[in-house]
């Protein structure tokens, strides 16, 4: 099969897949929603244990809707860092949304303003699902919106449950909750180490952070790691 024919076929197939009904999209997203729900609950428990007011924990999930960024910000706070460093850490992790935002912008309906609002439903999981459902270079907008809205609900409800459960659990240090943060970061990191480039970025990022940490104010080691990540990514 020649390349143009193959490309044409894949567009056709993508078109057929894009007509999936809402309930089909929801069914495909259900296992991911369960994982997001549990992730949200663990974030809620740890955030309350790190002495954040429960309302602010739920508000953060409702407004930020980005697990690894929220987890990173919380890790900084739990480690005694400042609010500015925590915001900085979370924002650095969310920089990738600029790139995914450009990719999904073409697939969303409406004018620029509406599309930038709808783009708020992008997280790693909904973006990945929309890429899989779409044509090459053109993620499926409807899959992004339906999956994103579903996962948003799971994330916020999970956080509420976790924030309610948190105070019941007891003394954070005795429960080893300070070790939960590095354990959580490594658990988030591991599935990303799928190629040589990712491994290189991880080793480089950790090495630079460790090299800078004794001499620089908090936040700078993370900025250094971000630069190394961008540099080594390809």
């Amino acid at each position: 099969m020649s390349a143009p024919v193959r490309r044409h076929l894949s567009y056709l197939m993508a078109g057929m897949r894009a007509t999936r009904s809402t309930s089909e999209i929801l069914q495909a997203a259900a296992p991911i929603a369960l994982a997001v729900f549990i992730f949200g609950a663990s974030f809620g428990v740890l955030a309350v244990a790190a002495r954040l007011p429960a309302w602010s924990v739920v508000l953060m999930s409702a407004l930020v809707f980005a697990g690894s960024a929220q987890f990173a910000a919380l890790g900084v706070i739990a480690g005694g860092g400042s609010v500015l460093t925590a915001i900085f850490a979370g924002a650095l992790l969310n920089l990738r949304f600029i790139a995914t935002g450009i990719a999904v912008a073409r697939s969303l309906p409406g004018g620029r303003l509406l599309r930038s609002l709808l783009g708020q439903l992008s997280i790693d999981e909904s973006y990945a699902m929309s890429v899989r459902a779409g044509a090459p270079g053109r993620p499926d907008g409807r899959t992004l919106l339906v999956t994103g809205a579903f996962l948003y609900g799971a994330w916020v409800v999970g956080t509420v449950i976790g924030a309610l459960l948190g105070p019941v659990l007891g003394d954070p240090k005795r429960l080893g909750l300070d070790a939960a943060f590095p354990a959580g970061f490594v658990a988030l990191l591991w599935p990303m180490l799928t190629g040589r480039h990712a491994v290189r970025c991880a080793i480089g990022g950790a090495a630079v952070a460790l090299a800078l940490a004794p001499f620089t104010p908090p936040g700078i080691p993370l900025a250094g790691a971000a630069v190394v990540g961008l540099w080594l990514a390809r």
């Binding site: 992790l93 080893g176 490594v186 970025c201 460790l210």
Partner: protein, 103 residues
């Protein structure tokens, strides 16, 4: 953490995240060489966060019960166990070692 400080944290992170997700429709298509580079951000930052969590207040590596906790979490993540299992196992390892050895 006091309420106003927590609110500043939430609103600061939320507004930056909002802006980053909102810029897509207003930006030209970046060359794929540029967008591909952002895929390196998450692994580099998460690895850096692990490393920083293992340093003491002086910024130098401080080897304590968090190290075995991280190793156990990494092993469990490597065999594809869910996030929560890795986190709970890491916390349990730290708590158990602390209770046993008073470290």
């Amino acid at each position: 953490m006091a309420g106003p400080l927590a609110l500043a944290l939430v609103l600061g992170l939320a507004s930056l995240s909002f802006i980053m997700r909102a810029t897509g429709p207003f930006l030209p298509n970046l060359p794929s060489a540029v967008t591909e580079r952002t895929t390196g951000l998450a692994p580099a930052l998460l690895a850096a966060l692990v490393a920083i969590q293992l340093t003491g207040s002086n910024g130098i590596l401080h080897l304590d019960v968090k190290v075995p906790a991280v190793i156990v979490a990494a092993l469990l993540a490597a065999v594809r166990l869910p996030f929560i299992v890795c986190v709970v196992a890491g916390a349990l390892v730290a708590a158990t070692l602390r209770a046993l050895f008073h470290v």
